[in-house]
């Protein structure tokens, strides 16, 4: 029997949307899953094509299994969890195969959008879990507890990941542009 609970989602602007239960259609699940997973994977991997592939896999899984979700309001949390897991798994695989693949393949094309390229460059060189934490916080606006559930760690670990991630971004920015305290 379908759940009679309304579906609530928190969009990127922080607006709480309440939808009737019948709104959990395949189109809605696919669109939401593609959106969540592509943004997450793009933040973690910095590769548009890999992010598109992961988004597609996550969305297909979501459409196939959404019917068994006991609480439709939990859709977003579930999507964040499977998207982060898929992106981190791909980051591990990519690390192993990067050297082998470079020999025969063309380098990945840069993103068409310069602003997008600059955004993802900000996260370059950070460990995948730090990238994931920063993406979940500053792209998806998730609170510590939700990030902890997606990353399967304690909220304290999330705070540490975010703090170290911010510090790494600051250091990288200083290396590129000089320290704010330095004389120019």
């Amino acid at each position: 029997m379908a759940s009679l609970k309304a579906m609530t989602t928190l969009d990127h602007a922080g607006t709480l949307t309440v939808a009737p239960p019948h709104a959990l259609s395949a189109e809605r699940v696919a669109a939401r899953a593609l959106r969540v997973a592509r943004r997450t994977a793009y933040g973690v991997l910095g590769d548009a094509e890999a992010a598109a592939d992961i988004a597609q896999d996550v969305a297909i899984t979501a459409v196939r299994r959404a019917g068994s979700l006991r609480d439709p309001a939990a859709l977003d949390a579930w999507l964040h969890r499977i998207a982060v897991r898929a992106a981190l798994r791909e980051a591990r695989r990519a690390g192993r195969r990067r050297a082998a693949e470079r020999a025969g393949h063309d380098p990945p094309p840069p993103a068409d959008d310069a602003a997008l390229t600059r955004a993802v460059a900000l996260l370059d060189g950070l460990p995948p879990r730090q990238r994931a934490a920063l993406t979940l916080r500053y792209v998806h606006d998730l609170p510590d507890a939700a990030i902890a559930r997606a990353l399967r760690c304690r909220p304290g670990t999330v705070r540490s990941l975010l703090s170290r991630g911010r510090e790494a971004v600051r250091r990288a920015h200083e290396d590129d542009h000089g320290s704010p305290d330095a004389d120019h």
Binding site: A55, I60, R97, V169, P180
Partner: protein, 341 residues
């Protein structure tokens, strides 16, 4: 400087603006429906595959030749576009002709010494309505990354370097005796048939062996079988369309984008999960021909627990296959054995 919460939120805002297109949403729903199509409902699944393929072909055809932003760059889109191109191909002739370069890379160990040996051989193949036909293979070559020790030379690495002229040799895989006419025109049905045939061994040389498959092995065999049939099978366009549909429904496929094969030809690449490794396929988007397939094998698994009294095999094994590549240098139809297109 992007270090405060507000700065970082602003700096990363372009990622927040990534939105799925209607076409992507349609493709996901079609793929999900294809994967969960019930066994007896063939017509709806086929209709979904055809709709998805038709939608994808618009981008594929508009993109030719050369790279174009409208050509699908995700794995599912690449395979669906290839399916649509394959579906429009003319009926095959009496034989499918292929000229193939096989490359095998072995890890060879003797004590603390370790080498890589690469064997290459080029063959010509003709296959008719099954894997019946002829293979002519010239003398192959073997090269080492460093001079091998005497012990390594004693092991030997394989037999592919010997010249051969005789019956088509596919080997003893799950498709050794597949009748090509049995392959359906419908992606969901073709996927089910491949899975069932691999599990019950109906086309294998030793169909009574009834192997117990480890997790993921059957799925890998389906991908390998579909690629082998696409490359070497004398199949109709709709059958090839169905097999590309089988590949596009494999979970975990990822795009390699525009790539160049070892023969220097441009194509589009897709990687499929393959029992701990990856099966990489390069496709000519204009013809849907498979240009190259390659796999990187995971290191051999340590031997499992053996019954008391059984001697453990040497570990690690002295020779293990590390990489395998098939480059399909030339493909086409031929009217008779020995005739070249």
């Amino acid at each position: 400087m992007p270090t405060t919460d507000t700065d970082l939120r602003d700096a990363l805002s372009p990622i927040r603006e990534l939105e799925p297109t209607d076409e992507e949403i349609r493709r996901v729903i079609a793929a999900a429906q294809e994967l969960r199509a019930p066994r007896r409902r063939r017509r709806p699944a086929r209709a979904v595959a055809v709709v998805a393929a038709t939608a994808a072909v618009v981008g594929a055809l508009a993109a030719l030749p050369g790279r174009d932003a409208t050509r699908p760059q995700d794995a599912h889109g690449i395979l669906q576009a290839a399916a649509a191109v394959a579906g429009n191909q003319p009926a095959p002739g009496a034989y499918r002709y292929t000229r193939v370069r096989d490359v095998f890379v072995y890890d060879v160990r003797a004590g603390a010494d370790r080498r890589r040996a690469t064997e290459e051989q080029t063959s010509e193949n003709w296959t008719s309505d099954a894997f019946a036909g002829r293979t002519i293979a010239g003398q192959g070559t073997e090269r080492w990354d460093a001079p091998p020790t005497a012990a390594m030379l004693r092991y030997g690495t394989g037999a592919v370097v010997k010249p051969y002229d005789g019956k088509f040799r596919y080997g003893d895989g799950p498709l050794a005796r597949v009748p090509f006419a049995a392959i359906p025109d419908d992606a969901a049905a073709a996927g089910r048939l491949l899975e069932d045939a691999i599990r019950d061994g109906r086309w294998a040389l030793d169909r009574d062996a009834h192997p117990r498959f480890a997790p993921g092995v059957v799925e890998s065999a389906i991908s390998h079988s579909a690629v082998t049939l696409l490359a070497l099978g004398n199949l109709s366009g709709p059958q090839r369309q169905a097999l590309f549909g089988v590949l596009s429904a494999r979970p975990g496929a990822r795009s390699l984008g525009d790539v160049t094969d070892v023969a220097g030809r441009r194509g589009v690449g897709v990687a499929l999960p393959d029992s701990g490794g990856e099966l990489r396929v390069i496709i000519d988007p204009e013809t849907s021909d498979i240009l190259q397939s390659s796999e990187t094998l995971p290191p051999p698994a340590p031997p499992s627990r053996l019954p008391a009294g059984v001697r453990r095999p040497p570990w690690p094994p002295p020779v293990s296959l590390a990489e395998r590549t098939e480059v399909f240098l030339s493909t086409g139809s031929a009217a008779a054995l020995g005739e070249r297109p």
